[in-house]
């Protein structure tokens, strides 16, 4: 079964940087990148790799069985399979939009969620909106394939506000990245 495997890469990638870039300058660059490109760069994906794997396991989790595609202000909206926090759609924002005055983090954690309409798996980037007090509305905590901080991009507890002017957490969005 083909499954999302992020074990090594965090490490490998970071190793590449450890040598040539200090964490500070990474942060600095993130900051710049953010200012320079408010429209986030799209993800490079190898078409070959995009061939559909067997998604039946992901489709059978308790979350996936209950997921719906109509109301993105509910915790069981399909994209929220691994979200933890307040839904920006309930805070004056949108599914991929921060509420006014909040700042989207350039970094995020990710989830692979099944869209019940087509049964396909999609990669979702859970981008925190930062720099405002906690929204407090629509608190959700779904954890399909959510792991621990040693795989940071798959952990949904971390305050993912890097390179933003403040790390105060406001709400979380669920940005569709593409087919997984």
């Amino acid at each position: 079964m083909k499954k999302f495997n992020a074990d090594a890469i965090g490490e490998t990638l970071l190793r590449k940087f450890a040598g040539r870039t200090s964490r500070r300058s990474i942060l600095a660059k993130l900051g710049t990148a953010l200012v320079a490109a408010p429209a986030f760069p799209l993800l490079p994906v190898s078409r070959v790799e995009a061939a559909k794997p067997d998604r039946s396991p992901e489709a059978k989790t308790a979350f996936a069985r209950e997921a719906q595609t109509k109301d993105d202000t509910k915790c069981n909206y399909w994209r929220y399979c691994a979200i933890d926090g307040s839904l920006c759609t309930c805070c004056g924002g949108g599914i991929h939009s921060c509420p006014a005055g909040a700042e989207p983090s350039p970094v995020s954690w990710v989830g692979t969620c099944i869209n019940p309409d087509d049964g396909k798996a999609y990669l979702i980037a859970y981008r925190d909106c930062c720099g405002k007090p906690a929204c407090g509305q629509c608190g959700c905590d779904n954890a399909d394939r959510e792991t621990q901080i040693y795989v940071p991009q798959l952990n949904n507890d971390i305050i993912w506000c890097f390179g933003t002017s403040s790390m105060q957490y406001h709400c979380s969005t669920a940005v569709l990245v593409g087919a997984a």
Partner: protein, 395 residues
């Protein structure tokens, strides 16, 4: 793991993505990004806020909770949030361009350097425009009377207790602190158009501060209430168009003050007596319907109707949540309606438009939006906020 698999996994990690976006500037890694892109991918963005609407409620998170949430009375949906820190006071630019937040922040949260300021946010982007440094301010929260903006939007008045009473005057056009006026024994700031501001005092008088002259002039009315036996709730109603302040006492006496250089006070009337009861007493062992709560009443300017949270009890229960809302026609001295509430509520506010809506919240922070005319529940909002409720006044 194969190189392609490797690439794919990179593609799957947005944490990696961010690094990748840096990687692009890193020759050694550049080739990693030379693959096709997913067309349907969304990009993150930020919403713009509408101009403040007169059917919006601004609900403070409450004691020790940051943020003031904005709810649309028509949909019950949250429209956004104003960055208010703990015990901050929120006021509005009458033209709808700015939010003003009077707040005190320590440089290290529970310690460090104290910083008092009026923070200015634009209402469209909701970005911080500037911080107007002020010398001091009272820290209490749960009040709208400690930070008011003059009807013309030119002046901000910040109440201060340290522990002497004074008011910091802020020029909102120049965005700078101007001066501090001592107002001994007075508090509860009331806008006084063209004059400056008025305030209620511990001797039962209303003080008026004329700010035009270099040395502000303080005048006082004769005492008209007892600040210790039957105090007037600070939470007064203000009718901008008529220049009226409508005030309510612990026993349920309604006073109106016509504002001006020398405010004139009307004779009070008892809301219980106009409801057909005997008027409520200050003496013990006397049960009656009393006004109460932390924001016990709200005035609808256009109609001149006062909405009051009422509960059955004894005197000194002035903080008790209300089980009914009494709608009072102040001019006609009549109780128009009584709405029974499903849950006791501690705060009440009303929109200032032609179709007034009520927002009420309880200690747990759950809120309801009622049609002010029928009392019908339109929306229920969990975790709306447990604090003071504000509305903008377009009049």
């Amino acid at each position: 793991m194969s190189v392609t698999a490797m690439k794919r996994t990179i593609a799957l990690s947005t944490a990696a993505l961010s690094l990748l976006s840096i990687a692009l500037s890193q020759p050694a890694l550049a080739e990693d990004a030379t693959t096709a892109t997913v067309p349907e991918a969304e990009t993150s963005d930020v919403m713009k806020a509408e101009k403040p609407q007169n059917h919006w409620f601004y609900v403070n998170g409450g004691w020790n909770v940051d943020g003031t949430s904005i709810f649309d009375a028509k949909t019950g949906k949250m429209k956004g949030m104003v960055n208010t820190s703990s015990s901050a006071d929120l006021a509005f630019d009458p033209t709808g361009k700015y939010y003003y937040v009077s707040e005190t922040i320590w440089s290290k949260g529970n310690r460090g350097t104290r910083q008092d300021m009026v923070s200015v946010y634009d209402t469209a982007e909701m970005k911080l425009l500037t911080e107007i440094v002020i010398p001091d301010r009272i820290i209490v929260g749960e009040r709208k009377q400690n930070f008011i903006v003059s009807d013309d939007g030119k002046w901000g008045f910040v109440y201060n207790l340290s522990p002497a009473s004074s008011v910091n005057i802020v020029d909102l056009t120049k965005r700078k602190f101007v001066k501090t006026v001592e107002v001994p024994g007075c508090a509860t700031l009331i806008p006084n158009p063209g004059v400056g501001f008025s305030a209620l005092c511990s001797d039962g008088s209303m003080a008026t501060v004329a700010i035009a002259s270099a040395k502000p002039q303080i005048t006082r009315t004769a005492p008209f209430f007892s600040a210790t036996t039957d105090p007037i709730f600070e939470n007064f109603g203000y009718d901008k168009k008529r220049g009226l302040a409508v005030m309510l006492s612990y026993t349920g006496l309604v006073y109106t003050a016509k504002l001006g250089a020398t405010p004139t006070l009307s004779a009070p009337f008892s809301i219980q007596s106009v409801a057909g009861y005997s008027s409520a007493e200050t003496k013990p062992l006397d049960t009656a319907w009393y006004p109460g709560g932390r924001q016990p009443s709200a005035l609808h300017g256009p109609s001149g109707h006062l909405f009051v949270l009422m509960h059955l009890g004894e005197f000194w229960s002035h903080k008790q949540a209300g089980t009914e809302v009494w709608e009072i026609d102040v001019a006609a001295k009549k109780v128009v309606r009584r709405h029974v509430l499903k849950e006791p509520m501690g705060h009440i506010e009303v929109t200032q438009d032609a179709e007034p809506m009520l927002f009420l919240n309880d200690e747990k922070g759950d809120g309801v939006i009622l049609d002010a005319k029928t009392g019908e529940e339109k929306h229920k909002i969990e975790h709306a906020g447990a604090g003071i409720i504000s509305v903008t006044d377009p009049s």
